[in-house]
């Protein structure tokens, strides 16, 4: 079970690396993201521009951290900078944002549930795995753009992402049971 997770993480890291490279060179040319990983390096070569040193350095710095905004249930916003590769759950905890993480990122709970406020950002994320979907099933206040915070990994494609912490709902039963009104 652990090796499977590690290899998934590895695959994820590779995908992110490739995506990141593609994003930085596609500034002047909008290139559709290629599904076939083997072709990605080729596209990179075809469209890469010889950028002057300073601009390239700036791009590197921007590549390292992205902007993330957490919006709590009262509408209060907190803007943070998150290094590429860090999960939103980790980033929240590092910045004292109250995002629960009962299972500490092991896909065994739904307490780090966040709502991606911009559908464009939501679409940039990789589809949730069966395991994540199983946990999302149980999340309270689930929406069309809900994800688990521990599964959203920072990368330049989602720079500026805004994540809403779901409001505590009245109906908090998981098996469809609706509490009777008093």
């Amino acid at each position: 079970m652990f090796t499977l997770k590690l290899s998934k993480l590895g695959a994820h890291a590779i995908k992110n690396c490739l995506k990141a490279q593609l994003a930085s060179t596609a500034r002047t040319l909008r290139v559709p993201l290629c599904q076939n990983e083997n072709l990605l390096p080729l596209i990179h070569q075809r469209y890469s521009t010889a950028a002057p040193d300073k601009a390239f350095q700036k791009q590197n710095e921007e590549k390292e951290k992205i902007s993330v905004t957490f919006v709590d249930k009262d509408g209060e916003e907190k803007h943070i900078r998150v290094p590429v590769g860090m999960s939103m759950l980790e980033a929240a905890h590092e910045n004292d944002i109250e995002l629960e993480g009962a299972c500490e990122g092991s896909l065994a709970c739904s307490t780090c549930h966040v709502i991606v406020m911009d559908p464009n950002h939501y679409n940039k994320l990789e589809d949730p795995t069966d395991e994540e979907n199983d946990m999302l099933d149980l999340a309270f206040g689930l929406t069309e753009t809900s994800r688990l915070g521990c599964q959203i990994i920072a990368h330049p494609d989602i720079d500026g992402i805004r994540l809403a912490l779901p409001a505590a709902t009245r109906n908090f039963a998981v098996d469809g049971y609706k509490p009777k009104p008093h």
Partner: protein, 487 residues
């Protein structure tokens, strides 16, 4: 000179002078208890919170209910342990509400008492021969393999039969089926109780029937657990395709419910992927539309169960509630078995002085505030008495459900604090809190175990586990637990 100061602010400044922290006792140290304690401490910085539990080990069902092969679900105990590290929070193990101390005594000692002691009993079917040997509640069976000291001697007979019937289709039903059917080797490195490993290694159980009164659309389990049980190595899974037929009401239910939709999809896929059963292979049969009518006694083993008689059902909409309910058809069918596990729901246990709804098995409350028995047209609440968790909502939901449940209860407590319900104008009216509890326990010669005692148990269990290549070797006897805790 008239100065208008809101009464609330006056009482607050008094309390600052009188150094009057809110004294809170939480009964029960499972998720409901710990989330409540955590939120009280966060909201009321100077509150003093004592968590009591009748066991010397904390964490409730996280320790004794979550299956041994689900270690990630237990990670939340790290968060709970951090709560007790707060200097304003103390744990008192081996203190039992009802025997060590009464509810009214607790209410005399603390400003606020939150009952979060869950549901330690079982719903009963109330059908003939329920007392036959070989019939257990799933709760007992789970406590047994999880090493709960109350069930260490359960000694279920897994040898004289090859078939078990599990009544119910929730996650607990799936847990017990999985523990019976998984290759035992896969469980030996977990924190499962050793006495359970020994029994499972010699188990002759090869066939498990999971039986529900209604259909696959109403099954109460969730996708993760279902996926897991369907994925057991070398397991033949049987689901009757005829059972998957959906009524218009079923379609409607699935349209509106993501959980049921995904569960139904998994069940349909399993039904159509029919792999032929082989001899010696373990089998899992999902049986729908069967309501237990009576238990059948063995002719060879007097007093022992030999089978269950079921009435076939159809699912119909109940006019008043709109709920889909199972209705008997008058046709019957028997399933032979030597072991029955009833997984039909837990039930809370009342204590003296606690308003209790015996029909629902929970405490009448509004937002966690306990309703007085005397409540008529005008709602009256028991001052300073609150509930959280299963005792408040009934035995449903997951660990995270208690997160929101605790938020609601603590919001009620906070409202009451701000209304001045617990404000004392003179120090003589202050509740003694922790000191009062310590005095009372001492006067009764009751030895309580602080969190440090649990840490000793934890260390010992981990140490013993290492010797057996297990994540933990649980101490399952009361005496052993108390000895190690006292060391």
């Amino acid at each position: 000179m008239a100065i208008s100061i809101p009464l609330r602010r006056l009482s607050r400044s008094f309390s600052a002078i009188a150094s009057n922290p809110l004294r809170v006792c939480v009964v029960g140290s499972g998720p409901a208890g710990f989330y409540t304690a955590e939120k009280v401490l966060k909201k009321h910085e100077r509150a003093e919170v004592d968590i009591i539990d009748r066991l010397p080990t904390p964490f409730g069902l996280v320790r004794s209910g979550v299956a041994p092969d689900h270690p990630e679900t237990k990670i939340v105990t790290n968060q709970f342990s951090r709560v007790v590290q707060n200097e304003h929070c103390s744990f008192f193990g081996n203190v039992s509400l009802g025997s060590s101390i009464s509810l009214s005594e607790l209410r005399d000692i603390y400003d606020v008492v939150v009952l979060a002691y869950g549901a330690e009993s079982d719903r009963v079917l109330g059908i003939p021969r329920e007392e036959l040997k070989g019939i257990y509640s799933a709760r007992e069976f789970v406590w047994w393999y999880n090493g709960h000291p109350d069930c260490s001697k359960l000694d279920p007979d897994l040898k004289s039969t090859d078939t078990a019937v599990v009544l119910g289709l929730g996650n607990v039903a799936l847990d017990v089926a999985r523990v019976l059917l998984r290759p035992t080797m896969e469980l030996t490195s977990t924190d499962i109780a050793s006495h359970a490993v020994a029994a499972l290694e010699e188990s002759c159980i090869r066939k498990v029937y999971l039986v529900g009164r209604r259909g696959p659309v109403q099954a109460a389990c969730t996708a993760k657990e279902l996926r897991e049980v369907l994925g057991i190595q070398d397991l033949y899974v049987h689901i009757d395709e005829a059972d998957l037929v959906k009524t218009p009401a079923d379609e409607e239910e699935l349209k509106n419910n993501r959980i049921h939709r995904r569960v139904y999809e998994l069940l349909s896929r399993a039904a159509s992927s029919g792999v032929a059963s082989g001899s010696g292979r373990r089998e899992l049969h999902f049986v729908f539309f069967r309501k237990p009518e009576r238990f059948l006694e063995s002719e060879d083993q007097g007093g022992h169960v030999a089978g269950v008689r079921f009435e076939k059902t159809i699912v119909r909409e109940e006019l008043e509630s709109g709920k889909q309910i199972a209705v008997g058809t008058g046709q019957f069918e028997d399933i032979e078995c030597g072991l029955v596990l009833k997984s039909i729901g837990y039930k809370s246990v009342p204590v003296d002085g606690l308003p209790f709804d015996h029909q629902k098995g929970m405490v009448p409350n509004v937002g966690g505030r306990v309703l007085s028995d005397a409540s008529g047209d005008e709602m009256q609440f028991e001052k300073g008495l609150y509930v959280c968790g299963w005792l408040k909502r009934g035995p449903t939901g997951i660990i995270a459900t208690n997160l929101y449940c605790a938020e609601e209860t603590v919001a009620s407590i906070t409202e009451d604090v701000e209304k001045g319900l617990f404000t004392r104008t003179s120090s003589s009216q202050q509740k003694p809190g922790r000191e009062g509890l310590l005095q009372l326990l001492d006067s009764r010669d009751i030895r309580f175990f602080p969190f440090g005692a649990w840490e000793k148990i934890d260390q010992e269990e981990t140490r013993r586990g290492l010797l057996k290549s297990k994540s933990r070797e649980k101490l399952t006897e009361w005496l052993e637990l108390l000895n190690i805790a006292s060391a």
